[in-house]
Structures are given as structure tokens and as C-alpha cells.
């Protein structure tokens, strides 16, 4: 590695951090939050066996899980305009990523809720709880510690998946690295640097996950 590359990497690093802060992180936070809400709702309608909604939930999960995310991005960003829905890059990405998180995490949450022993529900009923009270006060809090590690997996996966938004013209870390490299031809180093940015974010999340798990552990 010569001096020129060192200087260039030092100069480009802040330029890669900027889109991480302005695109990758907001995209992740927003999509994951919306996705979790979708996941919880779709898991609950299945567990409560609500007739029509339950089938809709299964259908949604089937479609999302069985098609590639990049194809979904293309359909929304490049395809939808032909039926009059024009979404800019960022909302299009949020839509696709939220739906994806929702589908995968729905299964995680459903499994976690089903792993809570049925006796907990019986006991809640016999303490006079309604189904909703039993779910929100007794079952879901206990399902959380089971669901936490796989949900963290999904979150970390999402951080990296946001790089797919590059394909729908969103200026995020990878796109920025590519732009700089196109000027300097240092593809190897810039793409490694882009990887480093993801590595840093995901490492931070890993540390947070461990701390949160310890906290959850203490509470039982």
C-alpha cells in the first residue's frame, strides 16, 4: 500500500460514513421498526386464529420469503411507476425492507410465542385475564427473551441488506464507494473500506445485543 492510497483512504472514509449516517442507519431503523410491527401483527392473527386475516398473513409471508429482495426492489422502484405509483428511492427501499423484515420476523415471533408453555396462558386465564391481557402481560414478555437473538440476527442482516438499495439509485455506502472508485480506480481498497463501514455498524450491534441479553437474563 503506497502513500497515495493511504491518503485517499483517509480522505474517503468520512465520505463513506456520511451515507452510512444519512441512508444506511435511517433506512435500517425505519424498516426494522415498521417490520417488527408487521411481524407482531401477522404473528398474532395466526396465533389468535382470526379466520381471514390468518390466511392473508400466511399468503404475505409466502410471497415475501419466496422471492428475492432485489427483485422486489425492482418491481417497486422500476415496475410500479407503470401502474401510476412513483416512489422515490428511499421510500421504495423502506417499503421493501419493512415487508421483508415483517415476513421473516413474523415467523420468529410466532415461534417464540408458541414456545411459551401453554400453562402460562391457562394460568393467566384463571387469574381472570382476557386473551389480550394474557398475551401482552404474560406471554409476549416471555417470548421476547426467546425471540431476541434471532431478531438481532434479522437486524444485523438488514444493515447489510440495505446495500441492495444501491440498485434503486439510493446513495448509500456501497454506491458512494463505487463513485469514488470510478474516479480513482482503487476498487479493491474502496470496496474493502465500504465493507469496513458495515463491519463497524454490525459490530456495534453485536455488542449491544450481548448487553441486552445479559439484561434480559438478569430479569428472570
Amino acid at each position: 500500500m503506497n502513500d497515495r492510497i493511504v491518503t485517499e483512504l483517509l480522505e474517503s472514509f468520512p465520505k463513506l460514513l456520511m451515507p452510512a449516517l444519512s441512508a444506511t442507519i435511517p433506512l435500517t431503523v425505519l424498516s426494522f421498526t415498521i417490520g417488527l410491527l408487521i411481524a407482531l401483527l401477522t404473528a398474532l392473527v395466526q396465533i389468535a386464529k382470526i379466520p381471514v386475516l390468518r390466511r392473508l398473513a400466511r399468503f404475505y409471508i409466502w410471497i415475501i420469503r419466496c422471492t428475492p429482495m432485489i427483485v422486489q426492489l425492482f418491481v417497486v422502484y422500476f415496475g410500479f411507476p407503470s401502474i401510476g405509483i412513483r416512489l422515490p428511492s428511499f421510500p421504495a427501499a423502506v417499503l421493501v425492507f419493512s415487508l421483508s423484515v415483517g415476513a421473516y420476523c413474523s415467523e420468529t415471533i410466532r415461534a417464540a410465542i408458541e414456545s411459551v408453555p401453554p400453562g402460562q396462558m391457562d394460568a393467566a386465564y384463571c387469574s381472570g385475564f382476557t386473551f389480550r391481557q394474557a398475551m401482552f402481560h404474560i406471554v409476549i414478555p416471555q417470548a421476547c427473551s426467546t425471540a431476541f437473538p434471532p431478531l438481532s440476527n434479522s437486524l444485523i442482516g438488514l444493515v447489510k441488506d440495505t446495500s441492495l438499495a444501491y440498485s434503486v439509485a439510493l446513495v448509500e455506502v456501497l454506491a458512494t464507494a463505487q463513485r469514488i472508485a470510478a474516479r480513482t480506480y482503487d476498487y479493491l481498497w474502496l470496496y474493502l473500506e465500504a465493507a469496513l463501514v458495515y463491519l463497524i455498524i454490525c459490530s456495534l450491534l453485536t455488542v449491544l445485543q450481548r448487553m441486552a441479553e445479559k439484561y434480559l437474563e438478569r430479569r428472570r
Partner: protein, 257 residues
């Protein structure tokens, strides 16, 4: 006070409860005995609406509910008048002993937290678990968990408490502490229906005993008569099979001598 009429329940082809009626008066301690698979636990779970009976009614405090067609609203209302103690304790894993006892008051019955805690502490004191009030269930022994579960059942002051084999999951040396608590409740006049394998408990604490076999009531009597003069051959066989012997007495084909 509580009356079950013509309860029937099948799981698939298996008719677990053929037709059982049962009447419990205020202050009664009714022991439900019977071999495994006789339907006694299912009967109790139907009475608590944890299993959905195929037919039958329950009358509590003069109000009758159809166990098959009861509405969701009535189920909640009915359940708030009963208590249930489970074989596996089923304490809420995410709550401390005290919170287990107060949850039914604050969350289900919307009681003020302070008031609920007073009642909760009183209930824990009754079962001798006051010093463990801030422990999570995972840090308690089986016997301690079951005593907290009993406190949870008595806290809302229900009309009747159902006990489903409350000592079956316990190590033998831990059953005593739970039976003692139940004994104390019985002396206080708590109305209880107890599915149990503890014949001695049934004899000493229960005032009425019901033997259930193959989903039917075989014999029902006050506990003294039940053990001293069993009328049915099946009762005699059951008592013999359990190898139960009152101290200093022997059991023969004619019953207890």
C-alpha cells in the same frame, strides 16, 4: 353453590367424560379420586373452561352458564369467580412471587396497585412465602412455587378453588408443605375441589370424596363413609390398587376394617 350438570367431553373418538354431575356446597372440600386417564383432570379443566366441554352446564352463585355455548365475555366473568391451582404451578415466569399474586388483581380486575399489594402480601403470608416475595419463580423450589400459586389463587377471594393434582409434580419431601397450606385453607372454610392422588389427604381434609373412572362417577360420599364403607366393588379395588392403608388398619375385600 357450584354445580356441574351433565358435563361431557371427548377428545376425538375418546369419550373422556361420559356424563358427570357434581354439586359443591359452600365450605366443602371435595376430593376427586380416580386412576390415571379417568377424566378427573379434564373435568376440572372443563369446569375452569380451560377445556371446552361438548355439553353441560355450570351453576355458580345461582347463575348458570352453558359450558358449550358460553360467550367470551361470560367466560372471563365466570373465571374471575374461581381460582385454579395447577399440577405444574404455572407461575408467570416474568413476574416475581408478589407480582404473580397481584397480576390478577391489578391487570384483570383493575384494582389499585397499593390495595392489590396489601392483599398480595396477606396471601403470601398465609402460605408462608412472605420472605420470598421478590423472588422470580425460577429461584423457588417446587413446593415454594406451588405455595405462591395457591396465594395467587386465593388473592382475588374466589368462590371456589380448583386444585389439579397440586402435589403430583413435587418431590415427596415437598408435598407436606403444600398439603399443610391446603389443610389450613380448608379449616378457614375455603370451598375447594381437589383432584388428587393423596388418599390420606382426601381422607383427612376432604369432607366429600368422589371416585371417577372411565368418565363416570363411580361412588360419591362423605369422606368417612367413603373410606370406611365403600359400596362399590370398583371403589374397593381402587383403594386396594393405590396400596393406601390408614395407619394401624388393614384393607380387605369388604373395605377397611
Amino acid at each position: 353453590m357450584l354445580e356441574l350438570r351433565h358435563v361431557k367431553k371427548a377428545f376425538g373418538d375418546l369419550q373422556v367424560i361420559r356424563d358427570i354431575s357434581l354439586k359443591v356446597e359452600q365450605g366443602d372440600v371435595v376430593a376427586l379420586l380416580g386412576p390415571s386417564g379417568s377424566g378427573k383432570t379434564t373435568l376440572l379443566r372443563c369446569a375452569g373452561y380451560l377445556n371446552h366441554a361438548d355439553s353441560g352446564t355450570v351453576t355458580l352463585e345461582g347463575e348458570t352458564f352453558d359450558l358449550h355455548t358460553i360467550s367470551k365475555k361470560d367466560v372471563v366473568r365466570y373465571r374471575r369467580k374461581i381460582g385454579f391451582v395447577f399440577q405444574n404451578f404455572n407461575l408467570f415466569g416474568n413476574r416475581t412471587a408478589l407480582q404473580n399474586v397481584t397480576a390478577g388483581l391489578t391487570i384483570a380486575r383493575k384494582m389499585d396497585r397499593k390495595e392489590a399489594e396489601e392483599i398480595g402480601l396477606e396471601a403470601l403470608k398465609k402460605v408462608g412465602m412472605l420472605d420470598r416475595k421478590d423472588y422470580y419463580p425460577s429461584k423457588l423450589s417446587g413446593g415454594q412455587q406451588q405455595r405462591v400459586a395457591i396465594a395467587r389463587a386465593i388473592a382475588p377471594n374466589p368462590n371456589v378453588i380448583f386444585f389439579d393434582e397440586p402435589t403430583s409434580a413435587l418431590d415427596p419431601e415437598l408435598t407436606g408443605e403444600v398439603l399443610n397450606v391446603m389443610n389450613a385453607l380448608a379449616r378457614d372454610g375455603t370451598t375447594m375441589i381437589v383432584v388428587t392422588h393423596e388418599i390420606e389427604f382426601a381422607r383427612r381434609v376432604a369432607n366429600r370424596v368422589v371416585l371417577i373412572e372411565d368418565g363416570l362417577v363411580v361412588e360419591e360420599n362423605d369422606s368417612e363413609t367413603f373410606f370406611a364403607y365403600p359400596r362399590q366393588q370398583r371403589t374397593i379395588n381402587f383403594l386396594r390398587d393405590t396400596k393406601w392403608k390408614p395407619e394401624g388398619e388393614t384393607i380387605s375385600e369388604e373395605g377397611i376394617i
